[in-house]
């Protein structure tokens, strides 16, 4: 399900009046995107060893202080990859020709869609972890802080992303389909160390225009 509020946030929405046509476009895009996307995911659990800023996940060595901090004291991690598929990218291209506003709305709705899809997967993992009395750390993706995008290559090889769910990497380690996510999720024995979900308010980039903030929605928008 696409979360309308998130779509609006990605569009840089600040509570302006939304006219009828915009409202209609948003609704049409959501329907078309949900009907034509086929979300897919793959995740696997690995043992994990942390030594200072170095993390060892089943033969993969990662150097990242931020990730090491995130995974503090975790003995297990889950590597996760997910995508909503190519439909969003195709729609963005198509609407760039016929209706630029819709193209931008697909961009935002696609971002909202993949996030909520990954949240769903995370819930499944959370349940599985709980059976073993393990709790989830907030998910952490290549590109966050000092966790280099270069590690995308390794995660892709370990999860066989291209073969299993059709995500591929560009030379610059960006994912296509673009509405895709890879992440490391630490499994901790300490319930308190886990938190439900890391919000973007923890990010260092204070002036980001997409930063989550409380917006009062006019009636009828959602």
């Amino acid at each position: 399900m696409i979360n309308r509020k998130e779509t609006l946030r990605y569009l840089g929405y600040l509570g302006q009046k939304i006219d009828e046509q915009t409202q209609k476009f948003i609704e049409e895009v959501e329907v078309e995107l949900e009907n034509s996307s086929s979300p897919k995911s793959i995740y696997r659990e690995y043992n994990c060893d942390i030594n200072g800023d170095t993390i060892l996940i089943d033969g993969l060595v990662i150097n990242s202080a931020n990730l090491a901090k995130n995974l503090k004291e975790c003995k297990h991690v889950v590597l996760l990859a997910a995508t909503i598929g190519r439909a969003a990218d195709m729609m963005i291209k198509k609407y760039a020709v016929t209706n630029l506003a819709k193209s931008v709305i697909v961009q935002a709705a696609g971002a909202a869609y993949i996030e909520s899809y990954v949240d769903e997967i995370e819930e499944t993992i959370r349940k599985y972890a709980k059976e073993q009395e393990l709790y989830l750390r907030p998910r952490f993706s290549p590109g966050y802080g000092d966790f280099s995008l270069e590690y995308q290559k390794d995660i892709f090889a370990m999860l066989e992303c291209s073969r299993r769910i059709g995500i591929t990497l560009t030379e610059g380690n960006l994912m296509i389909p673009t509405k895709s996510v890879t992440a490391v999720i630490g499994l901790t024995t300490k319930e308190r160390a886990s938190c439900q979900k890391e919000t973007c308010s923890q990010c260092e980039k204070q002036d980001c225009e997409f930063r989550q903030r409380e917006i009062i929605m006019p009636c009828g928008v959602l």
């Binding site: 929405y13 600040l14 939304i18 089943d58 439909a87 209706n99 630029l100």
Partner: protein, 795 residues
């Protein structure tokens, strides 16, 4: 006996998984298994031997992952690992003293092809080519292209194998739970393309266990006339303690596979999780089964990268609008390389109900081959309709067929020997259905009999190339009734005969019938309806004509191909009120139409304004003030981004109306100036750049859009050749800002006078200063203001 002779006459057996066996032997996840062809050849050799002992008669070489992308930093060449891989199978066969075939195993490159990905079709081809050549040289008996989830990549691999080797080709694909490839293609589309490319066998592998795969096979059998291959996993992968496991054991696997074999397949084997024990059980369970005879399904079908279009009782619409003949605006678009205009024509026809789009981009003054390549690739990025490649240039036709992602329709061949000698070899090689014009060296026969004879001649000649009647679409040629009243009758009589007696599908370019007459649509519609009733399989028409499409939908309701008239009722039950918008719009001013973002109203209002005011006044007093108001609203955050864009598009429609008006008056007023924009190398995000483009265009600038992932050299080149004084660069990722800096350095070196503005999510003023940009624009309106200031001062 060779592989091809046995294929389809007896059951053959592939071996099982390689990866699973190697993991047991200590292969790390992420490690390249093919390197073991060099470092642990005994391990590989033993696995092959165990499968041979189990009774398989086709052994897959350990070459699945060999390609120039995966091996890039490995220190190995594709050729040497391929050669070693093939030789290990051959050694295993020789040492086991078994009779078996060696399959060169080719997997996906792991890169996405254009238009969504960054890999071009020819680059993919080249990579497959290396492996194919090395594999054949090392002694492979066949080429297995497997675990494929993208038709375009399959096509590159098949062509590489066909053009560089003599090996038989077997292709197996992975489906998702909906029975589709990851690209969204259904089985029918994939089979249409694969049969067109004349592979020797096709089927499914990986993804599921035999139980699930079995459910997809009836559908596959229904559309496929080739021997089938089934290589399932040992069930679905399950992760236990960090290890991937498969739970379907050898006996259960073999039991289901026996059922599959009895329902009709030619080759059975295994994929992930299957072991020599699985294969042994499989061979034991199935070896007494004779494969069912493979029947010709006789389907007349073309396909796109997502779906197939079948010629059948329900006639089809081929949209004729992508064609410059008699269209000055279209010719201009071709000369100016305004591809967006062509794409809009495509999407409009799709919206109106076309099933296939004719693509003709021939114009004497342009390079048709290059234009055809670009348009075919471009159209595949925005529409999923199959294309009809329409050209008389054989090279343009071949290039388009090569780059086409599916089984195309071709337009056309005719009864001239030279035409048939040129076109039929292309159809035999790439696959496709083809429109056959009933004319020859002596021109167009004036009798139905004469046209039928040419049709028969074409059918006979096609057969020499193995092109069956099902792949022909005979055009009995529409001639205008204004020069001969009997013309309609001749065309229809021949059409009826071709369809009913020769049993070949038919097509007509319908609108020729009324050439030279007033109110042509009236005649066209009547002729179209008669032709449909005489057996027209596909009309080449203008789908934007409401009258023609109504005739079509009514006909389908009448001939029973619109089941329960559902389609007709859905289309016409609500009394459509197409004029409501425009009647309201009469009252709306151009200014308001732009502010409200109403595209069609803005176009109409602009046309109306032009009757009473000079064009410049319309721009300065209506369009620009409206844009300014919306732009300021956006900057003050009272207007929301999609609304800004709707206004921009409405303004663009207004500008287009004005341009059209000026052209009629012979006025070619210059733009304010030319600006080059691009998303820098390595970055694939271009929405921000697209927004900037439309706004700059609104304010009267001519924008040269170089697209995304653009090399610095190309930016410099474009800026040079067009003598621009402003370049706009966009980057979204921190990692690509470095390429932005590189582009700026090269620009500053080559064109010190040229100004550079930058924008994108990660940029800040500080960052922009650091990399040497002249201006940082925090949003699209900022770039408009900067461009306005810059060009005002310079003027």
């Amino acid at each position: 006996m060779n592989f091809i002779d046995r294929l389809g006459t007896e059951l053959l057996f592939f071996d099982g998984a390689m990866g699973t066996m190697l993991q047991e032997q200590g292969l790390q996840s992420g490690e390249l298994p093919e390197i073991w062809n060099d470092t642990k050849e005994e391990v590989i050799l033993n696995i092959h031997k165990r499968y041979l002992e189990a009774g398989c008669n086709i052994v897959k070489a350990n070459t699945f992952g060999i390609n120039s992308f995966k091996l890039k930093d490995s220190g190995y060449s594709c050729e040497e690992l391929t050669e070693k891989g093939i030789k290990l199978v051959k050694r295993a066969i020789a040492e086991s003293k078994k009779e078996a075939y060696t399959a060169l195993d080719i997997g996906s490159l792991g890169k996405l092809l254009e238009p969504l990905g960054e890999l071009s079709f020819e680059e993919a081809y080249t990579s497959f080519q290396q492996v194919c050549i090395a594999g054949e040289q090392a002694g492979a008996d066949l080429c297995l292209i497997e675990t494929m989830n993208d038709t375009y990549e399959m096509k590159a691999a098949i062509l590489a194998a066909k053009e560089n080797t003599k090996l038989p080709i077997v292709v197996t694909m992975v489906l998702d739970e909906n029975g589709k490839l990851l690209t969204g293609a259904d089985m029918e589309a994939a089979v249409a393309m694969l049969e067109g490319l004349r592979v020797d066998a096709l089927g499914l592998n990986c993804g599921f266990g035999p139980d699930v795969m079995k459910n997809f096979l009836p559908q596959l059998r229904e559309v496929c006339s080739l021997p089938l291959v089934v290589n399932p996993n040992a069930g679905l992968p399950v992760v236990v303690n960090g290890k991937t496991c498969y739970h379907v054991g050898p006996e259960e696997f073999a039991k289901i596979m026996r059922k599959i074999a009895l329902e009709g397949v030619s080759i059975l084997g295994g994929c992930c999780g299957t072991t020599p024990a699985h294969i042994q059980a499989l061979v034991q369970a199935c070896k007494d089964i004779k494969p069912l005879e493979i029947t010709e399904k006789n389907r007349s079908v073309v396909s796109s990268y997502t779906h197939a279009v079948l010629f059948e009782q329900k006639p089809k619409i081929i949209g004729e609008r992508i064609n410059p003949t008699g269209k000055s605006r279209f010719k201009q678009a071709l000369r100016e390389k305004d591809l967006e205009y062509i794409y809009k024509e495509a999407l409009m026809q799709q919206e109106k109900g076309a099933h296939i789009l004719d693509v003709n981009v021939g114009l004497p003054e342009i390079d048709e081959v290059e234009m055809m390549k670009e348009v075919v690739v471009g159209l595949q990025g925005i529409t999923d309709l199959p294309l009809q490649i329409d050209t008389s240039d054989a090279i343009a036709m071949e290039m388009a067929m090569r780059l086409y992602n599916g089984k195309p329709l071709l337009n056309s061949v005719n009864g001239k020997q030279e035409s048939m000698d040129t076109v039929f070899p292309l159809v035999a090689k790439y696959g496709g259905m083809i429109v056959c014009l009933t004319l020859d060296e002596n021109g167009i026969p004036e009798t139905a009999k004469g046209r039928i004879e040419i049709a028969e001649k074409i059918i006979k000649e096609a057969a020499k190339y193995g092109i069956k009647k099902k792949d022909l679409l005979i055009d009995t040629l529409t001639m205008t009734i204004s020069t001969g009243q009997e013309n309609a009758q001749i065309t229809l009589e021949a059409l009826h005969y071709v369809r009913e007696v020769l049993e070949v599908h038919t097509t007509l370019g319908v609108s020729n019938i009324s050439f030279g007459l007033p109110q042509r649509e009236k005649v066209n519609t009547a002729f179209f309806t008669i032709a449909l009733s005489q057996g027209l399989s596909a009309g080449i028409i203008n789908p934007n004509s409401e009258a023609m499409m109504s005739a079509y939908y009514a006909y389908c309701a009448l001939n029973g191909s619109d089941s329960q008239c559902t389609n007709y009722i859905n289309l016409y039950s609500e009394a459509k009120q197409p004029n409501v918008m425009s009647s309201n719009n009469n009252e709306i001013t151009l200014f308001d139409a732009v502010v409200k973002g109403l595209v069609e109203s803005a176009r109409q209002a602009a046309k109306k304004e032009l009757k009473t005011r000079p064009p410049l006044a319309v721009i300065d007093e209506e369009l620009i003030p409206a844009l300014d108001q919306v732009g300021q609203g956006f900057e003050k955050k009272t207007v929301f981004l999609p609304q800004l864009l709707m206004s921009a598009e409405a303004a663009k429609a207004g500008f287009d109306a004005i341009k059209e008006h000026l052209k009629v008056q012979g006025d070619t007023s210059a733009s304010k100036g030319t600006i080059v924009i691009a998303t820098v190398k390595g970055d694939i995000h271009d929405i921000g750049k697209n927004i900037v483009k439309v706004l700059l265009e609104n304010y009267g600038f001519q924008v040269i859009d170089l697209g995304k992932d653009v090399e610095p050299e190309i930016v410099v080149e474009a800026a040079k050749t067009n003598h621009v004084k402003l370049v706009g660069l966009s980057a979204l990722m921190t990692t690509t800002v470095a390429n932005m800096e590189l582009t700026i350095q090269q620009l500053k070196k080559e064109l010190p006078e040229c100004k550079i503005m930058v924008g994108g999510a990660v940029l800040t003023q500080t960052y922009a200063d650091m990399i040497g940009a002249d201006f940082y624009s925090k949003d699209a309106m900022g770039s408009v203001r900067y461009a306005n200031d810059l060009f005002d001062i310079n003027n």
